[in-house]
């Protein structure tokens, strides 16, 4: 620790602190323009100049100068004030000062400091900048005339996002913040640069001219896309969510969001939202009153009888709603036929972790990522499923020297990180590879002493027979030495964390893969230490909550696959679908669609008239997360508060409201509001005990777990390639999540439709180029997608994302990890 004096105040701070940090910790504000706590110091703007007794004669930038023992600092002398005024005058010289039409007004550091320092005259004159404004994309407007060259956009895009869109270009007075060839911005559109830009040089176009910043009502909530659980602040006015407001103090991610969170909120106020209940009459969906619709639903669900009623309930709902749904099925309808996410996208947690660890959650949490020594990302690039966790990985690798290893069937963005190593295996063979890693550990006496006390070790060791690195090398296409090297590095790393992203797009052996990985972590003694363990990353905003609330079949209940099959067979007579869109997101579209056409009574509750809702007998218009109070539980078990920002749109009602009323119509319990349900959750659900909304506060609370690990041997046989066919693997596009992001402007700009990615080698053989239409055929069904050709795909493998309704990939997939397809032009 270092002691110093700032403005006559004694301050003690860690020795790596800067003067700026020290002042801040003492509650003394030093103005800044180019500094950002998340970024490497830059020291370019000189706004933070202070005086240091020991360095008299010149003013010192507080943001880059480290503290030293006994330092005496003054932060506001007349000389300092003059120096800061001069900085501002020089910036204002070329700046257009068009605050009346600038969206940053009110939230602009330059404007606020100019006001604070009363800079109402300028001793200099000069011409204004005359840069062309970049209006080429619908999300970010770049007006470099307003730029103050703080470099924050370039730094965040490099340091945290790892995209690197910007750099200072040209020299001298021509110098400006620009892109490659000074062209229009063409990037991930995460909006991080907009968030940190201190002025209005980078602004959000969807928000342009929508409202003055100070007139917005700012409501803290949680992103409703992926499972990362990013906190966000909604900017609300006139019952509309107009933007997301950046708050650098929110969440583990310091307010950072991805394109879905930042630019994907438009589904809330979309004019495609359902505005009234619909009931099918004479074969057509006709508007109906809530009373009529709910009476029909209550009657339809009840008359089907407990064996013949089933539910598919989306993990996008709040915990309170999921809890109510579970209660409705179990206690009121007497049915255990309840599931979500096609039954498989949660099985890694609900069944895998449950059997292997004794609880249906990850033993690790998101803050372990940066504390780890070695990260093992498995099956797919965690960046495409959970972008902000991708930022955490970027930071871990670049700042903390975390050793990143990716084992996947293709390369991803993370593969490009400095020193990252990617092991590309032949699709579908991931479990075999993981078993081989474990085999190396066991055979080389790297088994951690802690594993000796874990149940099932002996049997597990035996089960690894047949997974030697040589055998695995043959099947996976990764050299045996590489497998041995990876296993050894993993075992020897002091702290090693496995990341397993999940999702509807990654069907196959979720449960088995999770168990194989948990075995690996147990044998290497990696579970139960900070920065170590396994992080199973549920796909949706409340995937973990849905598992915690028990929205999956218990006892003799049917899971999603059986529910669909029994709809087709006529055994399930009434199906209640809440927020899921099986027609597009479950494997085997035709089978699902036929089954839903057959079921006697189909209720769909959703924001939109989805492909599934079109088949319903009754459609109930539900509310978005912005219209709700409640909680979501994120990846790594963080329970966080979702807050109502606007009133329900049109005649829509929250899922809470609808489920609650159905329950009471059917003679079940009824709750006053979501907080009352949470009281019951806190009583009934393990890990949630003792939680209250008050205790969650802004930070949220971590659900505790107690690991009781055991080895569960998992067998894997090599995936057989089909001659002349390509291995199709599916998944998430970086910019989308589920099927809801199709109603978000950001995701739809960056990725408006499905596509198929090919390696350069395959593209050359098939004579296809970017944007050519290609036909993928499997088992008699075909779809046509635009091609993308790149370096990340290995030869013989095709990737396609699943989110889109048109030419949806589930026309040709059936839930196996790999689909063998013929490709033609």
């Amino acid at each position: 620790m270092v002691n110093l004096t700032i403005d006559d105040k004694k301050v003690t701070v860690p020795k790596d602190a800067t003067i700026y940090d020290a002042a801040k910790s003492a509650g003394i504000r030093i103005p800044i323009l180019c500094h950002d706590k998340k970024l490497h110091p830059f020291g370019g703007c000189r706004m933070c100049l202070v005086e240091v007794e020991q360095m008299k004669g010149r003013l010192i930038p507080a943001c880059t100068t480290p503290v030293t023992e006994g330092m005496i600092v003054k932060t506001t002398t007349p000389e300092i004030i003059n120096a800061r005024k001069l900085v501002l005058e020089l910036l204002l010289l070329k700046h257009p000062v068009d605050c009346p039409v600038c969206d940053a007004a009110g939230d602009c550091d330059l404007q606020n400091l100019t006001y604070e320092y009363k800079v109402n005259t300028n001793q200099f004159t000069d011409e204004k900048f005359n840069h062309k404004i970049d209006y080429e994309n619908p999300l970010i407007e770049r007006d470099m005339n307003r730029c103050i060259h703080c470099g924050k956009c370039a730094r965040i895009c490099d340091e945290i996002v790892s995209f690197g869109a910007y750099t200072f270009i040209n020299r001298g007075i021509e110098a400006k913040m620009g892109t490659e060839f000074d062209g229009p911005l063409n990037c991930e559109f995460c909006g991080s640069c907009v968030s940190v830009c201190p002025v209005g040089a980078l602004v959000s176009r969807p928000f342009k001219f929508k409202a003055r910043w100070w007139s917005l009502n700012k409501v803290k909530s949680v992103c409703s896309y992926c499972g990362t659980g990013c906190q966000l602040t909604l900017g609300v006015k006139g019952n509309k969510v107009l933007t997301t407001v950046y708050d650098e103090n929110q969440g583990f991610h310091n307010g950072q969001l991805c394109t879905r969170g930042r630019f994907g909120y438009q589904f809330v106020n979309s004019d495609k939202r359902l505005s009234t209940p619909l009931v099918r009459k004479n074969g057509r969906l006709e508007p109906a009153t809530w009373d009529e619709a709910l009476a029909a639903v209550a009657e339809g669900l009840k008359s089907a009888g407990s064996d013949a009623v089933a539910g598919l309930v989306s993990p996008r709902l709040t915990n309170e709603e999921l809890y109510l749904a579970r209660k409705l099925f179990k206690d009121v309808l007497g049915s255990n036929n309840l599931d979500h996410s096609a039954g498989y996208a949660h099985s890694a947690l609900s069944h895998g972790a449950m059997e292997s660890l004794g609880f249906a959650a990850s033993p690790s949490t998101v803050t372990d990522i940066q504390k780890s020594d070695l990260l093992l990302v498995v099956k797919t690039d965690a960046y495409e499923t959970h972008p902000v966790l991708g930022f955490e990985i970027n930071l871990g690798v670049k700042r903390k020297g975390v050793d990143l290893r990716v084992i996947s069937d293709k390369k991803g963005k993370l593969s490009r990180l400095p020193k990252a190593k990617t092991y590309v295996y032949k699709p579908g063979n991931e479990i075999l590879l993981v078993n081989a890693l474990a085999k190396v550990i066991v055979d080389n006496n790297l088994t951690d002493p802690s594993a000796m006390g874990v149940a099932g070790l002996e049997e597990y060791n035996k089960s690894l027979e047949g997974y030697s690195p040589a055998q695995a090398a043959e099947v996976c296409g990764i050299a045996a030495e590489e497998i041995i090297g990876l296993a050894t590095d993993y075992a020897k790393a002091d702290k090693a964390l496995i990341l397993l992203p999940l999702g509807l797009g990654y069907p196959g052996h979720d449960k088995a893969l999770a168990q194989a990985l948990i075995n690996l972590a147990l044998v290497a003694g990696k579970i139960g230490k900070e920065g170590s363990g396994v992080l199973i990353m549920g796909e949706k905003n409340n995937s973990q909550g849905a598992v915690d609330m028990g929205v999956y079949p218990a006892g003799n209940g049917k899971g999603a696959t059986d529910i669909i099959a029994s709809c087709a067979a006529g055994a399930t007579k009434a199906l209640y679908v809440v927020g899921e869109n099986p027609v597009v997101s479950y494997p085997n579209r035709k089978k699902v669609a036929d089954a839903l056409d057959k079921v006697g009574f189909l209720v769909v509750q959703d924001l939109f008239l989805t492909e599934t809702a079109e088949k319903a007998h009754v459609v109930l218009p539900a509310c978005s997360f912005a219209e709700k109070d409640g909680t979501f539980t994120s990846v790594g078990r963080m329970v966080q508060r979702v807050r109502k920002a606007i009133k329900p749109i049109g005649a829509s009602r929250s899922d809470f409201d609808i489920l609650n009323e159905l329950s009471s119509r059917l003679g079940g319990a009824s709750f006053a509001d979501s907080s009352q349900v949470f009281v019951e959750i806190a009583r009934e659900v393990a890990g949630y005990n003792g939680l209250t909304y008050d205790k969650l506060g802004d930070e949220g609370a971590l659900v505790p777990v107690a690991v009781k690990g055991r080895f569960v041997p998992v067998a894997a046989s090599p995936v057989k390639a089909e001659a002349g066919k390509y291995a199709l693997v599916t998944g998430s596009a970086l910019y989308h999540c589920g099927t809801m992001s199709r109603f978000g402007q950001g995701p739809m700009h960056v990725c408006p439709e499905g596509y198929a990615e090919f390696s350069r080698e395959d593209a050359a053989v098939l004579k296809i180029q970017d944007n050519d239409l290609v036909k993928l055929t499997s088992a008699g069904a075909e779809i046509n997608l635009k091609a993308k050709v790149n370096m990340r795909m290995p030869k013989g493998v095709v990737f396609a994302p699943y989110h889109f309704g048109e030419e949806s990939i589930n026309n040709i997939t059936d839930g196996s990890p790999v689909t063998w397809v013929a490709v033609s032009k």
Partner: protein, 168 residues
């Protein structure tokens, strides 16, 4: 004045073999970006866009940063350059001796402006600061040949002379 053909040339197929060889040579050298870019410029006479993407991919650097470097150092050229680089000094001494007229005459004769290249890639024209031979002002250079005491007449002679020389 338009430079369209020269720009079109940039989007044409570029044979990346030479660029790949340059990258191979420096691949393991720390701080290899500058030598790689210099090597590429030596091979192609300028740094074609496809080579920037190639360098970005192979050295794992952002294309934007490479562009930043290329535009920061005057030594790099992003457009194809003519076989004959005409430089006219507009430093103080030359200015006083009427350099502007010389410049205008070149513009007129070549139909290109400052830092532009003729469509046939024969000439590139540049205004430059003091060339250090103020005694001979106004001064012009064509590649390494120096021409002192420039006149409108001499401009015509230079254009005619270099206009006939072989391009290979």
């Amino acid at each position: 004045m338009s430079n369209a053909p020269a720009e079109e040339l940039q989007t044409q197929e570029i044979d990346l073999t030479a660029a790949n060889q340059v990258i191979d040579k420096f691949l393991t050298l720390p701080g290899n970006l500058m030598p790689v870019l210099q090597g590429i410029q030596e091979e192609y006479g300028y740094v074609p866009k496809p080579t920037i993407d190639l360098v970005a991919e192979r050295l794992n650097v952002y294309p934007s940063q490479i562009y930043g470097v290329l535009t920061f150092y005057a030594q790099f050229h992003l457009k194809p350059r003519g076989k004959f680089i005409i430089r006219v000094c507009v430093g103080t001494a030359c200015h006083v001796q009427g350099a502007e007229r010389i410049v205008e005459t070149f513009f007129d004769k070549l139909h290109i402006g400052h830092a532009e290249t003729t469509p046939d890639l024969r000439f590139t024209f540049e205004k430059v600061a003091c060339l250090g031979a103020c005694g001979m002002a106004p001064l012009a250079m064509v590649n390494d040949d120096t021409f002192g005491k420039m006149t409108v007449q001499k401009v015509e002679e230079i254009v005619a002379d270099y206009g006939q020389r072989p391009m290979k």
